[in-house]
Amino acid sequence: MIVKPKIGIFGLTGCSGEQIVILNCEDELLDIAGAVDIRVFHTATSDNDEQGPLDIAFVEGSVVKPEEVEVLKRIRKRAKLLVAIGTCAAWGGIPAMHNELSRADLCRAVYGGEGECFETIPPQPLRAFVKVDYNISGCPMEKDDFLRAVPMLIHGDLPLQPAYAVCTECKMRENECLLVTRGQLCLGPLTLAGCNARCPSYGVACCGCRGPVDEANVASEVKILQEKGFTLADIHNALRTFAAPAQALEKELSRGITG
């Protein structure tokens, strides 16, 4: 008998977007479920194995509650490969946009005095706490990225990430340039490719939801945007939206806070 690879699909704090993208693989879902042994998937089943070893753990969401640090460490311990799915898990995502603000103040603002019992920590990507073997970023992750990665990961291979930006994909689709021609605040030049320039192809500026590409030239993008008339505050707001904890953006963003 063939032993099927054991898979776990987990969600920390987030919108469940990646779990929904997995459930949105309507044509492939039953095949995937036949090829692997899904041991954990709380959103889809009540029969979950909370202890046993896993070949691959897919984890979405960012770490927001203190107990999630422990949950994540337990997942890491039982999994051969840990894969961060979605931008929250890979980069911190939208919840990590303003980690410079005090959590206690935020809690009081939303829940008043009664909310003081709710424990929260500044949202962080998974790699802040455990070793992550592979990231499938995107808000949400692209269905095709997931479907391509699963068979490779099962065989222990880590799929290659594009070494170019959304901007390159956009040029290949021959879209009109939203940044240069239409003067929009487009983050295509800084953002990891893989979505086939989804937003700019609808005439909507890239908001950077896949996180920064390697060696993103942040300073140059900021300069162009300032020349186009955008204020530093608006540029920084856009940059911090999905991947504020990313090293590539941190330096530029801290310039905004101190300056």
Binding site: C15, V21, E26, V64, P95, V110, A238
Partner: protein, 430 residues
Amino acid sequence: MSTSIVIDHLCRIEGHGGITVEIKNGKATRVQMDILEGTRFFEALLKGRIYSEVPGIVSRICSICSGVHTITSQLAVEDAFGVQVTPQTRLLRDLFLQGGNIESHALHVFCLALPDYLGYSGAIAMAADHPDKVKLGLELKKIGNTVQEVVGGRAVHPVNTVVGGFGKVPTADELRQLRNKLVEGLDLAQTAVDFVASLETPRFTESPTLYAALRPADGSFSLLGEQICLSNGQAYPIHEYRQVCNEFVVPHSHSKHSMFNGQPFMVGALARLMINGAALNGLAKEAAQRLGLDSFTENIFHNNTAQVVELVYSLEHSIQLIDELLQAGVKQEKPVEVKVRAARGTGAAEAPRGILYHSYTFDEQGRLTSADVIAPTSQNAANIEKDMRVAVERLAGEPKEVLAHKLEMVARAYDPCLSCSVHLVDLTNG
């Protein structure tokens, strides 16, 4: 004699939550729906943002409801700045919302709720014995997603719907192809009605229930409307939504609870049918009759069947919307231009799980100064606890595991969305 039931992790729902119940001498002394999803504090993320960025950020509150969050947010922004969108945009938005309703209901009915009725742990386990049922659900779900992709550019966190209109209007050809799929879907939905009609609906939570749903000025069955109608006959314009949802913090939940005059109420597919069901027509009306939803019911398990009726409605209505769009001739319109001003605006729409409200204030540069988002699951939370209390007292003699499973079924019947319920934004007094 006292006993307690603690379910740490409620499965087959969106998000993280549990149930805690304490029973003493057959009376429920404590009944809690514990919503412990982490808090993301969206208000801090929105403050200071330009109006055009707001819908894309609030969409991330929840993936399943990302479409309706985006549209409701755009309605609130447009209300603030007095933007009038074109009739074509209104039709396309309605179509887009119907897609979300189809996707969400198909997922909930077939993959999350049905396993309870047929005795399985989930859809994948159920597929081994009932592949046709699971495939039927997935096919319907896919059609809902296709609508969201064609109109909104993506099934989760749409990209193409913007303040004032659409980035790129779908072509007549794309709409015609979509229509063909919807026609196929309508056949599938009829099969779903036949099948669901054969299932027995549990009745152990039946108890007096107050419903709330939106109603449009023309009185049609719709996912959009200007009035909040209650099943006791009262009605409020959507700007007065705070009159209906008086929110308060409860210590066991990261979600606030809502009461109307101290009374819990229910929003969602069942509420829409109970309030506006008489306005249904065509196949949806027949489906409501077949499933016994053409008369008043106070049984939350009918929310599962009400979602099946709405599957028929949403498919049928989507086809009508496409016909209307094609008849008028699809135009590549640019989004309506926005003139910003210091103002407050409110938007509301029917999410798959019930009424969703967004309300914002902006300064004279169009930057957000305060925001308030009330999602359906936080409105339902108090009613879920009411129904669980009824169930506990009626079933007090049953073995603990049986009772625990039945309480899970009660919570699941509401199709709760815990990400939405927690990540509400509240910077009121603005």
